[in-house]
């Protein structure tokens, strides 16, 4: 923790100490990331940033900079202030940055070979819940407040169903729910969501379909005891965003670099280390609309 704060402090200090001259600023590419473990993430993000800078030399970029923040709001603030140029984020966080920092979605980011995913609602077999509306008065488990697939998107689905989410501290607090309310608790681990549903601690839980297919998050011994009662629309797995005020030439150059990066062995290795990224491509229009709809929500 102390080292994280130290690196953050150093990063911010460097930002503040940098000259205000726009030309000088533009020679540094600043890559942002929300992290609770900067020591672990720095080498990977730095390598990715350097890869971009190496290919942006014709635009005057000479070096890169990694900017870590402790949460999304801080990241949005820095991006809005022009202190973060590019960032990779999941759908909900991306929508937040578009709204709050004027970020622009540049490309769709494939992770682990997956271009998109969706959130699924699970319940224990043998219970009477058959659709999302029947979650009224029930307790649902999500992963954590920052999870797109296991909080924001499922919450959006519940809202679409006309129900109100109410956070509770313990699963046993379902008795306190009012009509039209759906209680929820954070399990902080996908596997806890699966186990809680199986044990009956909660009535249902939500996670991405990718997590549901991953035995580390959904044990093989538990999955047979669960049923899917609802699925969200398909969302892009991740998005690559740029600061809205970033020079269009730079944006275009970055787009071109990333679209070809998976064809470059060095680029592929760096992307894999960066966010388990396997590829960048253009965000399909239907998914763009879904992202936009999130922003509207």
């Amino acid at each position: 923790m102390r080292s994280s704060i130290l690196i953050l402090f150093i990063s911010l200090s460097m930002l503040l100490a940098m000259p205000r001259d726009s030309h000088a600023t533009d020679t540094i590419l600043k890559v942002g990331r929300v992290s609770f473990n900067p020591r672990k993430h720095y080498p990977r993000v730095k390598a990715f940033a350097d890869y971009l800078v190496d290919h942006l030399g014709h635009l005057g970029y000479e070096k890169s900079q990694v900017v870590f923040t402790k949460d999304l709001d801080q990241l949005a603030a820095l991006m809005k202030a022009g202190k973060v140029d590019v960032i990779s984020e999941t759908v909900y966080a991306a929508a937040h940055l578009v709204d709050k920092a004027g970020a622009q979605i540049l490309l769709r980011e494939w992770r682990g070979g997956q271009s998109s995913y969706k959130s699924v609602f699970l319940k224990r077999k043998g219970t009477s819940i058959s659709n999302i509306r029947e979650l009224e008065g029930k307790m649902v488990a999500f992963e954590d407040p920052g999870s797109t697939s296991s909080f924001y998107l499922p919450a959006l689905e519940i809202a679409k169903a006309g129900l109100t989410l109410v956070e509770k501290k313990y699963p046993a607090q379902r008795l306190e729910l009012q009509p039209g309310e759906v209680g929820f608790v954070f399990a902080y681990q996908e596997v806890n969501i699966a186990l809680w549903i199986q044990e009956g601690l909660v009535d249902a839980g939500a996670m991405s379909d990718l997590d549901m297919a991953n035995p580390r998050h959904m044990p093989d011994t538990v999955l047979p005891h669960l049923d899917v009662i609802h699925s969200s629309p398909t969302y892009p797995r991740s998005l690559f965003l740029v600061r809205g005020s970033l020079d269009p030439k730079t944006q275009n150059s970055i787009r071109d670099i990333l679209l070809r990066a998976h064809e470059d062995p060095d680029g592929l290795l760096i992307m894999d280390n960066y966010w388990n990224v396997s590829k960048y491509d253009v965000l399909p229009e239907p998914e763009r609309r879904i992202v936009d709809s999130i922003r509207l929500e």
């Binding site: 399990a187 809680w196 044990e199 601690l201 044990p219 093989d220």
Partner: protein, 511 residues
Amino acid sequence: MRISRQLFFMVLGTSMMTVAVAMAILFLSMSQFLERQHEMDRTLLQKTLTRQYSQYGKDLLEAIEEAIINPMFLNDRAQIQAILSSFIGRSGVLNIYVFDTHWRVLVDGTEDFSSRGKHISDLFDINVEQLKQAPTTQNEAIHVREILINDEYLLGGIALIVDRSSLLQSVDLLSQNMLQIQREAKETQYRAMFIILPVIFLFSIGVSIFVAQYFSSPIKQVARNVQRLEAGNYKISLPIYRKDEIGDLARSTHNLARTLEENETFKGELISSVSHELRTPLTSVLGFAKLISRDLKNVIPAETLTDDSQLKKVRRIESNLDIIALESQRLTRLISNVLDLSKIESGTIEWDFTRAGIAEPLAVAARSMHGVFASLPKVKLTTDIPEDLPEIPIDRDRIEQVIVNLLSNAAKFTEEGSVHLDARIVNGAMVQVNVTDTGIGIPEHMQDQIFERFQQVAESGRMKHNGTGLGLAICKEIVEAHHGRIWSMQCTGGGSRFTFEIPINGIISEY
């Protein structure tokens, strides 16, 4: 075998046997002790390690409970699983189960939660109460603990399975190490014994020699002195001042020697006195017998007697007087011989050794016997005495006495034939004198006995009662006084031969 050797081997054998038995007992008891100790060490080690393992299991269980109690409150199964995973595989932990309040598995330490929902009794085939007693199998130890909040609120339970085979392996390993150490200790003992054994052996030899000497030396000294006593030498010295039986034996031997010496002195004096006292009347008897015989012949000449009965009476008186004279002479010789022998044996005889030619005494002795042989018409005395015999240290009279005795013996036991006296030099070192006769000879078994006192060959009728039985004994004493030796042998054609040798230089050389 000499007593010193007997004692030596007896003590050596006894000590070696004692040492061997002691070593064997020591080895056996040491081996048994080491084996028993090894078993005890192994048992103790196993008990100690088992106890420590048991305590270790309890401590581990407490540590696990401490670690998972918050995740248990938060139902954070993933966190519990992560905690359990961090324990499993370390320090012999095979698996850990976390149970709900009904002892059904919540988390089992595996990523796929394969045991979830199973009841504890299905996992271990025994009930919870039995499991709480920390049962063990050959390879596993199971520790079960309830997770209680403030000792009353049951949150769940934990079961810990510890690998016991590692414990047994540790016991085996340590046991083997101890065994190895004990083997090395035993080998060291063996090596030490191999060093000690020769030392003990040498020490035993030393002790044996000492003991053998300590006991045999005075015994040998006593034996030597007894042999001297046997040889007639009573001047013995026994400086043994021990207070044990050997000391008693030495003192008794010494006293015996004194007594014998006194007796011998007394005997010599007695013999001397008796001889003297006997010789005087015998001389008178002999003289008067001869005188009466002569007077009888003069007073009553035989040719004057016409009456046969008177003549027979006179002949009988003459014969009786001859017997008196003859027996008186024999008695006189006997007394002389006894006196000589007594003087020789008591050492009181006075020797007159001078370097002189031996031929002369031989010739003198032969001449002195002419009278005897003249009375034996069927026996002829011949001599072969070289003139060039060397001068040697001799007592002439005694040598003459020896020759006279031998010739006299030969004459006695030869009825017909010859008696031959000869002398010669043997090997340039000895003068050898032989008296050979054609008489009755000497049986083989008596060849040595005849040189003992009062030993005679079976006598013929003619020589009956005519010997003293001391002549050859005196010869032997005289020859040995000249450092010579005397022996007899049977001649091939009959008869016997007496031989004596005297060293030319007075010392017998071995040849």
